[in-house]
Amino acid sequence: MSRILKHRLFWPVVVLVALLLLNLVFTDGFFRIEMKEGHLYGSLIDIFRFGAPLILVATGMTLVIATSGIDLSVGSVVAIAGALACMRISDLSDQNSVAGVLSAVGIALVLSVVLGLWNGFLVAGIGIQPIIATLILMVAGRGLAQLITDGQITTVQSSSYKLIGGGYWLTLPFGIIIVAVVLALTAFLTRRLALGLLIESVGGNAEASRLAGISARGVLIMVYAFCGLCAGIAGLMISSNVSSADGNNAGLWIELDAILAVVIGGTPLSGGRFSLSGTVLGALIIQTLTTTIYSIGVPPETTLLFKALVVTIVCLIQSPAFRAKVFHRRRRPVPASTAPEEKVRVSA
């Protein structure tokens, strides 16, 4: 029992389960999953489906944070990837052509990787602090997305493109499948190959990694590129789901949700260790929270406040120092009185 209690993911799981149960109280049949027209439907499926972009962005963010870095530009990359893909598709003569859509998607993803490489170059090549280096693209990226779409919201009518974020495959929403594949690949690369170890060592003690003959620069650049790619895929999902690209609002504040998901999942911001499963849990908690806010009918003007409140509670529950203060209070030894006259003199 104590081993379960001590497990890293114990508290995130507790929070997730609690949120889900809360939903069950307000929504009848919250856990029901139905098969309609060969597709799976249900609130749980929806949480996964709408949470898919966040999980992706948070996965990339996890690796960046493990190197003791941070990537604030993911929201902008989301917007740029969606904008570029939509622009390319809207230029097609046949918007449903698979080859055309694939090339648009490919170009958008390549650009995402390039943007990630840019971040990596600033951080590892020039040595700018990650928070500043990625802040550049966070701000400039919005402008770039606007530039691509000419400041308009670009809409597309492409059923092939719609598949990415809104379609189904093998009864499941396609987005869930993409997330599963990316996660499996990431888990394999980081946990079965040495990559995860290298990332953690660079984040934990960069000097030690250098002395072990590891190219910290290479690892860093690759991690930021990967984070860019993840954000790019997420951007495609988001824009495909609504069949349009909004350079201003697509992926707005997703970097903060992603960082939050990573931290809730137990990856320390100081780097050196990361937990992919924790991040997935963290992202699901955030998505479930959003769903909960709608299902229990929190007035729209207080949703942000409500969210902040829950997040604060989650963080407090997770903090060992806080738990010790609250739960161990009763086990305190009774402090001896400090009054001097009660002391027995000890002769030297």
Binding site: L193, E200, G272, P333, P335, S337, T338, A348
Partner: protein
């Protein structure tokens, strides 16, 4: 025994403006333990960095011959490939990774890129047995002590089929027990045919373990002594290091001890991390004016914890006991209280808790006494500068000016800055925690002189030290601490290392 595994000849290495090494020669025989001694800045670490390829070929002049072949290492990988492994003073471990992961970092046990975790952990376990470390290979490195981490470093070196092992200050952060274990291990490795080069400030260890010793001073080789032939003593090495015979390692002093200045009674402190564990258990101490009192104890005995809990409760929870200053009970609840009551504590970890390394000397000195240097909330910068200048002169802080950044100073000069900071608060009671840790012989003498001067001024000084000879040479009276309890109080005349050690290990069965 005359075959040399390593020969470095005519090594010269210049940094912009400084000649760190000048025509240095080093010859190490196969299968020996070779010590390198020298003061800080003598060029020991630079020499080892040249050897291990941290400074690649071309950045230095001279020749390295290893195993009969001329070597031109382009990096650490090259030297490791040749069988030369260096263990740096600042341990190069990733604290959040497991022991096994650290051992094979950059050298993973993998088939076609896929890590074989079973093999990794099994082989790591075998290596741990070899170095005598009873820990699970999957244990996180941050969960084990510094002594054990040092063993992990050695296991890591062994995993690379090392022929020449270089250890830079391996015991600097270790307690006596761990140091002894480490030295035993090195002897064992020597018997297995591994040649060791060890850099150490602890001369008693050098005497105990080395087969020969090379002394460096100011970037030059002074001499190489053969322990068996030359009958080397600590004093012999010291005179080589400082370039003159050091008759007395401790400055002379005639103690003038006055009234009681500070008394702690029945002081009990609980651990903040392990609920219910007493770190200090009913300790009582008395310090008198003009007296230098030692506090001896093994690692984990609670010395620092005692000092910090007294100093404004900066350590521990549920602290109980009473403090008397000049016979009157006082309350010290915060560091501000401590300063107000004239109590100062100079930390054992000056880099982490004692200094702001990226700030200059004057700001570091004024940090604890800004109140005295300011008027209506404004710091009088002229006064700050003047005070710092005064300390630079009186403490002999070797720096171009008081605007120099503290992080660039040597350990001894950093320690002088820490002491200046606390002396500025005009304390009556000074608690100095490991005041000479990691600083060289010459600077130690200066620190001792400063401590003596403080006592002459009528201040009460409590010195915490792991080096018993230091306590014996410096203190008028020595308390011993074991498992948080004061187990003995020995006046100077009766104090010997054996007697102190007896009290320090008392009640540990």
């Amino acid at each position: 025994m005359t075959e040399h595994i390593l020969r470095m000849s005519g090594i010269t290495k210049t940094f912009p403006g400084v000649k760190a090494l000048q025509d240095v020669n080093l010859a190490v025989r196969r299968g020996e333990i070779h010590a390198i001694c020298g003061e800080n800045g003598a060029g020991k670490s630079t020499l080892m960095k040249v050897l291990s390829g941290v400074y690649p070929h071309g950045q230095y002049d001279g020749e390295i011959t290893f195993e009969g072949r001329r070597c031109e290492f382009g990096g650490i990988r090259d030297s490791e490939h040749a069988g030369i492994v260096i263990i740096h003073q600042e341990l190069a471990l990733c604290p959040q990774l497991s022991i096994a992961e650290n051992i094979y970092l950059g050298n993973e046990r993998a088939a076609r890129g896929v890590i074989d975790w079973n093999r990794t952990n099994y082989e790591a376990g075998e290596l741990l047995k070899r170095v005598g470390l009873r820990e699970n290979p999957t244990t996180t490195v941050s969960d084990i002590g510094v002594g054990k981490q040092q063993l992990v470093e050695i296991a890591k070196a062994l995993s690379k089929e090392v022929k020449l092992l270089i250890l830079d200050e391996p015991t600097a952060a270790l307690n006596d027990e761990d140091s002894a274990h480490l030295l035993d291990l090195l002897r064992g490795l020597r018997d297995e045919g591994i040649t060791c080069v060890i850099i150490s400030h602890k001369l008693n260890e050098v005497i105990a373990i080395a087969d020969s010793v090379t002394i460096l001073r100011d970037g030059q080789t002074i001499e190489t002594l053969d322990m068996a032939v030359d009958g080397v003593t600590e004093d012999r090495i010291i005179s080589g290091m400082v370039g003159r015979a050091l008759d007395n390692r401790f400055p002379p002093r005639t103690p003038a001890i006055g009234e009681e200045a500070f008394r702690i009674e029945d002081w009990t402190v609980y651990s903040p991390s392990q609920p219910g564990r007493k770190v200090v258990d009913g300790a009582s101490l008395t310090l008198r004016r003009g007296e230098i009192v030692g506090l001896a104890g093994l690692m984990g005995a609670g010395r620092t914890e005692l000092a910090m809990s007294v100093f404004g409760r900066t350590y521990g929870v549920h602290i109980s006991g009473s403090i008397f200053k000049d016979g009157r009970p006082i309350e010290i609840r915060t560091v501000q209280d401590a300063i107000k009551h004239g109590v100062a504590y100079a930390t054992e970890d000056r880099k982490r808790y004692g200094l702001n390394l990226i700030e200059d000397i004057k700001r570091n000195i004024s940090a604890a006494w800004l109140k005295g240097l300011s008027r209506r909330g404004w710091v009088n910068e002229y006064e700050e500068y003047r005070v710092a200048q005064q300390f630079r002169a009186s403490m002999n802080i070797k720096a171009p000016s008081v605007d120099s950044v503290v992080g660039k100073l040597s350990g001894g000069n950093q320690q002088k800055v820490v002491l200046s900071k606390w002396i500025l608060t005009e304390p009556d009671v000074l608690i100095l925690d490991e005041p000479t840790r990691g600083i060289d012989v010459g600077a130690k003498y200066e620190i001792y002189t400063i401590i003596n001067r403080l006592a002459e001024q009528g201040k009460a000084v409590l010195v915490i030290s792991s080096e018993l000879p230091e306590l014996l040479g410096l203190c008028d009276r020595i308390y011993t601490l074991s498992e948080g309890r004061v187990t003995g109080e020995v006046p100077r005349e009766e104090a010997t290392q054996e007697r102190l050690m007896y009290f320090m290990t008392k009640g540990q069965e």
